[in-house]
Amino acid sequence: MKYLFRAEGIGKRFGDRQVLTAASFWGEAGKVVTLMGRNGSGKTTLMRIAAGTLRGDHGVVIFGDYASERPSTAAMARRGLFFVPQDQSLAHGFTVGDHLRAVTAVFGSGCTPGVVERLGLGGVLDRTRAELSAGERMRASLALAILRRPKCLLIDEPLARVAPKDQEVLAGALRGLADGGTAIVTSGHDVHQLLELSDSIIWCVAGSTHHLGTPQEAAQHTQFLREYLGPRGSGW
């Protein structure tokens, strides 16, 4: 099976506003797929519906042997999905160490010290979410994902509001996960870093999605260049 994870024909309306009409994306083992699109194009909504944290109006989510029009985050998590939303996956009132130990306890994953060191979390293990910077929160969220060893990781805007050095660490960790066979679906506006990281680009526009192919192919797409990348992005 080529696609490990698929969200197909997703639609969502908020009041009078039709955010998504028929949007689709997929995750492929060992590949990084990135959703790109202007603010308000529905990337986050699409990802949340696919992850089961928001109810879509129509569409279906398929993950391995699981298929549902009303997907459950927990049911997919048991099958190997891990979802990191835009505001990260740490719970308030618990330390980073609490989260790491919980994931290890449930999934029996080892090498916590190695993950902590690789993501530079040694000094923040006893800090709660409120005491962390945006970069530290995202690094901690990614550490949870690495310890989970998911078959598929949905991670919304991992490089947003993060210092360039943290972006490097995060992109490296995401690439490492993909190289280990995880299907990664990500999103964001950090064009240069995301185009370098990604194997495939999906453009969210006008409530729908368009597969643009590899980053090189996306960078040649005239409409994508004109309407999304703009003059600065076109230099990629």
């Binding site: 089961g52 944290t53 459950s72 985050t73 927990a74 049911a75 998590a77 048991r78 891990f82 979802f83 939303p85 505001d87 996956s89 740490l90 719970a91 308030h92 009132g93 618990f94 609490d98 989260h99 130990r101 919980a102 994931v103 306890a105 449930v106 999934f107 979410r129 949870l144 989970r148």
Partner: protein, 104 residues
């Protein structure tokens, strides 16, 4: 398949459910009183409503703090965690009813 959240998340579910149960029970007892003059022993229907409110409020609290999503990422569904909260609040309610009857 795991039945309970790992620590310290299990302790958090139990603790917050009990705190919310105490708050709602106090409000119900002060507001309506119970049968036979006891403010603590609630009629079964009222106790059922109280348990439903406790489970709902504890779910909202966990969702607002991001605990629901974290536990979902561990494979623990909202229904399963809510059942745990119901068990905790139900046991607390039953224990209180027994104590009130023994003290009468």
């Amino acid at each position: 398949m795991r039945l309970f959240p790992p620590q310290p998340f299990l302790g958090d579910v139990v603790r917050t459910t009990l705190v919310i149960w105490v708050g709602f029970h106090f409000a119900f007892a002060v507001g309506g009183g119970g049968p036979e003059g006891s403010a603590l022993a609630l009629p079964p229907v009222v106790a059922g409503v109280l348990l439903a409110l406790v489970v709902g409020a504890s779910h909202l609290d966990r969702s607002a703090r991001g605990v629901t999503l974290f536990l979902a990422n561990l494979g623990l569904s909202t229904a399963k965690v809510s059942l745990l909260a119901l068990a905790v609040a139900g046991l607390a309610e039953m224990g209180l009813q027994i104590v009130v009857r023994l003290l009468k």
